[in-house]
Symmetry: C2
Subunit: 337 residues, 2 copies
């Protein structure tokens, strides 16, 4: 790809603040001379029987066809009998790994200044099976499903990621002292893959201890790979170390080279439409998308512009203690380009 | 009780550093004029068929009879076909709530100085059911079981705790957006109990968001109540905020007024027998036991002596950056009494 050949990519602006922050991404990309032909997709207003959710068949086809996309926050409409939009996307598109880098932003102070972590989360099974039963009244069970197939592919993704990104260590997070069979299978797969990467230091860490060590000393970790729910928990914890989900990008990886970058924060309906939202998470997710497309130069330029704008501190949105609007902050980033 | 009537209490010194830190508790209690008639219990060397673990029938009977006890770390011997000692105690003694206070220790600096949290963990079911199956090769499932009975009693314990300890708020931690039935039942029970405590502010917080908020601003929380695995994770996270499991006490609450205080850190075999262990977590657990016995004056005295010794900083064990031995540190505490 060159920056002048337009690349087609799906864009889900999403709900609430989604359209505003998606607009910010478009402007910043344009300022950086990245020509993306955005295939904008909007979720339906009724449950689509083919997806059992408000996501339409066309929504899914767009990602499958373009193979790359960017997604804002989606609020699942309340009501029974249909699935969460986020989960439907992950399951239907087989987005098996969720990659969330968390690093301290220079100039944005938190209690931690040494964070540089990558969480890689299995994204399709585990506690998210959706299988629940009431056995007798007052006794309910949920099934956690761990498969060799899903564990192998996420483990393989994690080690390959570590290797290709110059990372030194992969920690497999588990609770196999309690869930010996499910988490045990997950670990067995990590063990197997680790053998193929002798140059990467490999360790297994129990989730409770991992959380304690992360808050005590996040520098102990590098790449973390784990089953679905632990990934949900730990990726939010790690985001908290550097300021929260408003600042951290993510990308979902599927088979056949599919990648859907995603801001994982909420749709913030309280500030929607008020030009107050912080677009950083979606912008940095966009940067991940560009890196995936091998537009590394533009990705770096945009990344630096975002980081420098935040570091300078003159233009910051309210969540970061500033008074800038979304458009002012976006303009400041564009001015850096 | 008066401090001169000896109270009978079970003591499990435990493994590794257990005997040394148990000795420290005995000395500090004696220095504070607390007369406990310790019923010392040692785990067996073979699996007891009546408990399917190395815990003996006598071990369990001792706690059931004395109704109060203190427990050091226990390392489950490696081998298949028997249960973890800690879990056996919780299940067989029906220790349904695990209470872990986490508060910043004056004078021991971490990144956080405003921590004052109580985690209350359901201790008998959830992901700890032990029910796991291989469905077909490469597909394994674990059952998470949530019951109304266990959820109600831990919720009731949490609200009563909040009320009797002057706490203002209870947060129920869950992932009911994914596990609608199991975590949904847990929340329903918390909702029901909350109605009986209009003076306590009640909220529901999704576990991933809870972890993010805990690391960003722990002062947002007060008492947290949650299913077993979330309690395992969050209590360790909270311990990390104030320095780790070496500094945080816990107490397990059972039916009929049974209470087993417990240091939840490991047995640290690497430093066992070397007079290097930090007895703080077991000492503070002992203080919780004394409060349970309504020996509040002595509990406060011992608590202050521990806190002041650490705050002065002259005698600290290696894990806190000092060079004191266990016995020096213990003596320093006794000198404060
Ligand atoms: C919204 C929710 C269903 C989702 C999850 O639990 O995975 C979110 O927390 C996330 O991490 O993307
Ligand atoms: C040792 C382990 C089985 C135990 C648990 O998971 O409950 C421990 O982490 C704890 O918190 O007491």
């Amino acid at each position: 790809f060159s920056s002048t050949t337009p690349i087609k990519a799906t864009l889900f602006p999403g709900d609430g603040i989604g359209p505003e922050i998606a607009e910010s991404v478009k402007q910043v990309f344009t300022a950086a001379d990245v020509t993306i032909d955005w295939d904008e997709q909007f979720v339906g207003t009724e449950v689509d029987p083919r997806t059992n959710s408000f996501l339409t068949w066309e929504n899914l086809q767009s990602v499958l066809k373009n193979k790359v996309g960017l997604k804002g926050p989606m609020a699942t409409p309340i009501g029974k009998g249909h699935r969460s939009l986020n989960l439907t996307l992950r399951k239907e598109l087989n987005l098996y790994a969720n990659v969330r880098p968390c690093y301290s932003l220079p100039g944005y102070k938190t209690r931690y200044d040494d964070v540089d972590l990558i969480t890689i989360r299995e994204n399709t099974e585990g506690e998210y099976s959706g299988l629940e039963h009431q056995v007798v009244k007052g006794v309910v069970e949920s099934l956690k499903i761990i498969t060799r197939k899903a564990s192998m592919r996420v483990a393989e993704y994690a080690f390959l990621y570590a290797k290709t990104h110059g990372r030194k260590k992969v920690s497999a997070i588990h609770k196999a002292n309690i869930m010996q069979k499910t988490d045990g299978l997950f670990l067995q797969c990590c063990d197997e893959v680790a053998k193929k990467y002798p140059e990467i230091y490999y360790e297994k860490v129990v989730i409770d201890n991992c959380c304690m060590m992360l808050v005590k000393n996040p520098a102990l970790f590098d790449v973390l790979v784990m089953p679905n729910l632990y990934g949900d928990i730990i990726s939010d914890l790690c985001a908290g170390l550097v300021g929260g989900l408003g600042l951290t990008p993510s990308m979902n990886i599927g088979e056949d080279g599919i990648a859907l970058a995603e801001a994982v924060h909420g749709s913030a309906p309280d500030i929607a439409g008020k030009n107050l939202a912080n677009p950083t998470a979606l912008l940095l997710s966009g940067v991940m998308m560009l890196r995936h497309l091998k537009l590394n130069k533009q990705a770096e330029q945009i990344h630096s512009a975002i980081i420098n704008t935040i570091a300078e501190g003159k233009y910051r949105t309210a969540d970061l203690g500033g008074t800038s609007t979304t458009t002012d902050f976006t303009k400041a980033i564009c001015d850096h380009l």
